[in-house]
């Protein structure tokens, strides 16, 4: 269901596509490159995120998403490794569920939360592909809460429409909570349930001494997103080091 490719674009320093749950994003990273004087930071790399929507040109919605991603990546990228430079991340939304949710033009007030996990994942994959030094990796997921209080991971367009609240949570590879965008009406008990579920999906393990028993039943079917990330890198490395294996395979 989750589809990842690393380095599909050959002119960019790093690139990746991420497709999951009806959202598809292609990301390109260029950097470290020369930075404009007015954006230059003396002790760290400036990070520039540009989001292009599936249709039309970016507006205020995209600026908001950009600032969330920029703030997050500033924490993830080791910005001190390349001072006075720019790391430029361009994210093109290829497909999104908004198309089926809103026939015609996407209203500005439409929720911009559902596409966020795909954007975050694509950008981190592109950064991996560009070999930009990072202090950690991150994984993000979308969860909706049904009217009966049930937690639905990777909701469809209908689920999103019927949901009482939707949540995006992102975790670092150390298990820290990096990003939260929750909207709707919910209680903290619901949120904690969502948190535990999201952590399970992203990071794979429950927080120590967390007392949520109701999640234990559906543990086994979850492939954690961190493994998907690692698999993508493994495939890329395998392709790059084919020349080392091939003499043996040619001989046999």
């Amino acid at each position: 269901m989750v589809n990842v490719t690393l380095s599909p674009l050959y002119r960019a320093d790093g690139s990746a596509t991420f497709t999951s749950n009806g959202y598809s994003v292609i990301a390109a990273v260029n950097g470290p490159i020369e930075v404009q004087r007015r954006d230059e930071l003396p002790e760290e790399a400036a990070i520039d995120v540009a989001i292009r929507p599936a249709a039309g040109v970016g507006g205020v919605r995209e600026r908001h998403l950009e600032s969330i991603i920029q703030n997050t990546l500033r924490h993830v990228i080791l910005v001190s490794a390349h001072p006075r430079t720019l790391i430029q991340i361009t994210l093109q939304i290829v497909a999104s569920q908004d198309d089926s949710l809103y026939p015609g033009n996407l209203p500005q007030a439409a929720s911009n939360v559902p596409v966020l996990p795909a954007l975050l994942q694509a950008s981190i994959l592109a950064l991996l592909s560009a070999s930009i030094p990072l202090s950690m990796t991150l994984t993000a997921t979308l969860i909706s809460v049904k009217e009966n209080g049930g937690v639905a991971p990777s909701p469809s367009a209908q689920d999103l429409e019927a949901a009482t609240s939707i949540h995006v949570l992102a975790f670092s590879s150390h298990g820290d909570l990096l990003v939260v965008e929750s909207e709707g009406y919910f209680t903290m008990d619901t949120w904690e349930k969502v948190y535990a579920k999201a952590r399970l999906i992203c990071h794979g393990e429950k927080e120590e001494d967390s007392e949520s028993e109701d999640l234990s039943m559906d543990t086994e079917e979850v492939t954690k997103l961190e493994d998907i990330l690692k698999d993508a890198v493994r495939q890329k490395v395998a392709a790059e080091y084919r020349w080392k294996q091939s003499p043996d395979s040619a001989a046999t």
Binding site: G31, V233, S246
Partner: protein, 244 residues
Amino acid sequence: MASKTLVLPGETISPDILPTPTNPNLLLKLGPGLRHVPPSTITSTIAGPLCIDQKKNAIWVENNSGRYIPQPNDLIIATVHHSSTDFYSCSITPHTTFPQLPQLAFEGATKKTRPQLNSGSLIYARVLTASKHTDPEIVCYNPSTGKSEGMGELKGGMVFDISLGLARRVLMAKQREDGGIAVLEEIAENVAFEVAVGRNGKVWVKSGGVKETLLVGRALQEADVQGLGVEEQVKLVRKMIRQV
């Protein structure tokens, strides 16, 4: 080489797998992709296979992608962008600050005999200094001997882009054994050509004719993209030579 474990950024390298030096005074060398977090943690910063050299007491993460970051002593192919009174400003990678090449940093160059380079000329140079806080400086001679050692302006020929990993492999002392590159040796049996490889992912090729030049460049690029092993490379080269 020892078996490779794959690391993602932010992973802590367990002290058990660090190389144990025979000489206790030998310091552990951290290569690219690793950083030391005081007091004694080592974490990875990029994704790739972790490589360990027991003999040199070194550990690093290999990577084949991304932008070239200048390192001292790297051989690179640069383009002259413009010249000022004392320096040529050259470009190694697009959209980065221009490294400086002093106009007198050529073999036997004096104020009167220095080479005149126009913008757009190609040069084969060595990175003298590079750090994250300063613009890199490159030179076209070996400062200790004063000899050019093959560096200087590259006249004629063509430049091809290759991946950083391939450039590193071609530059290895034992190309065929360590780097797994047989393309150049194989072509050299039939065609005479001149080649200069830059760590910044560029290869300059000059040969008798355009066809031969393209043959060398294409063969390298093909081997790079498809990740061909030594024997496949030999096959590829023979096929291409037959076509020429």
